[in-house]
């Protein structure tokens, strides 16, 4: 386990866990008081985590360019779409 944690993917796992704790903090009335801003932050952090999982666990940077672009586009479109819904509706 120590060898796994000491690797680069271990370091990214720690970043993902830290981001989870940050989301928990923001989502439990300790962080941001304005609800839409807090919701936007939660969505942004969640999709940033998706990006990290794609890049460092799925190893997409070493995959074909179209696959990388498709995954990155999905991440950005979902983030912008969901945050846009918070403010547009």
């Amino acid at each position: 386990m120590r060898a796994v944690l000491n690797s680069s993917i271990g370091a990214w796992w720690m970043v993902l866990v830290a981001a989870t704790v940050l989301s928990w903090w923001v989502g439990t009335d300790h962080g941001v008081s304005e609800p839409r801003l807090a919701a936007s932050l939660l969505i942004a952090v969640a999709l940033a985590k998706v990006w990290v999982i794609g890049s460092h666990f799925m190893e997409l940077p070493s995959a074909d360019t179209w696959l990388q672009r498709a995954f990155q586009s999905y991440t950005v479109i979902v983030a912008v779409g969901l945050i846009g819904m918070l403010y547009a509706l």
Partner: protein, 199 residues
């Protein structure tokens, strides 16, 4: 079984592509991602449309168990990513890492089942209101993904323990498991943490 007795089956260069797993698998993965993206939109719409009901219903969910299950799935993904790395480099004990990932998957199912049981014991069901209808449907579909993922991990484990390791099978199975992880990474904050109201 020793490292020297193992053989990694790779596809001929002409058939090889820069895609982890089988190319066809990615069609399925992206179809799943798109369907879940629409479901994420349903949650945000529900939050906008019925903010009071959303906030009141959300207060019945156990955020701590949601955080626990997030860390459990992230840890499973770490084990799977490390196992793929070890299979490719022909080092370490990827079978042990995959067993660790299976344990994470089983723990997720146990925690989620306990959470559901507690919610149902409080008299809350999928027909209680729109929030819980959405909650039970989406977490149920995701739970089904986790259980399929555990089966995929067991197939990977069997292959890794065999003499002829199929790298593409291991990579593809790993990508499916990471998909299960990343879907929860978005579902969890939307259902458990996202505050309602326009502020």
């Amino acid at each position: 079984m020793t490292a020297t007795s193992e053989r990694i089956v790779r596809e001929p260069a002409a058939e090889r592509s820069g895609i982890p797993g089988e190319p066809g698998l990615w069609l399925f993965l992206f179809a799943d991602l798109v369907v879940f993206a629409l479901m994420f939109g349903v949650i945000v719409h529900l939050r906008n449309d019925q903010p009071v009901l959303f906030a009141e219903s959300q207060s019945h969910l156990n955020e701590s168990l949601g955080v626990l299950n997030t860390v459990v799935l992230l840890t499973g993904s770490l084990f799977v990513a490390a196992a793929v790395r070890d299979v490719r480099a022909r080092v370490g004990r990827p079978d042990r890492l995959l067993l660790g990932a299976v344990a994470c998957g089983v723990l997720f199912v146990v925690v989620k089942s306990a959470e559901w049981a507690s919610t149902l014991a409080d008299g809350i069901t999928p027909s209680t209101n729109d929030f819980f209808g959405t909650y039970f449907m989406l977490t149920g579909i995701h739970l089904l993904h986790v259980m399929i993922g555990i089966g995929v991990l067991l197939v990977m484990l069997h292959n890794v323990r065999s003499r002829e390791r199929r790298l593409r099978l291991v990579e593809g199975g790993a990508c499916y498991w990471h998909l299960v992880d990343l879907l929860w990474v978005v579902l969890f904050p939307l259902l458990y943490l996202m505050p309602a109201g326009s502020g």
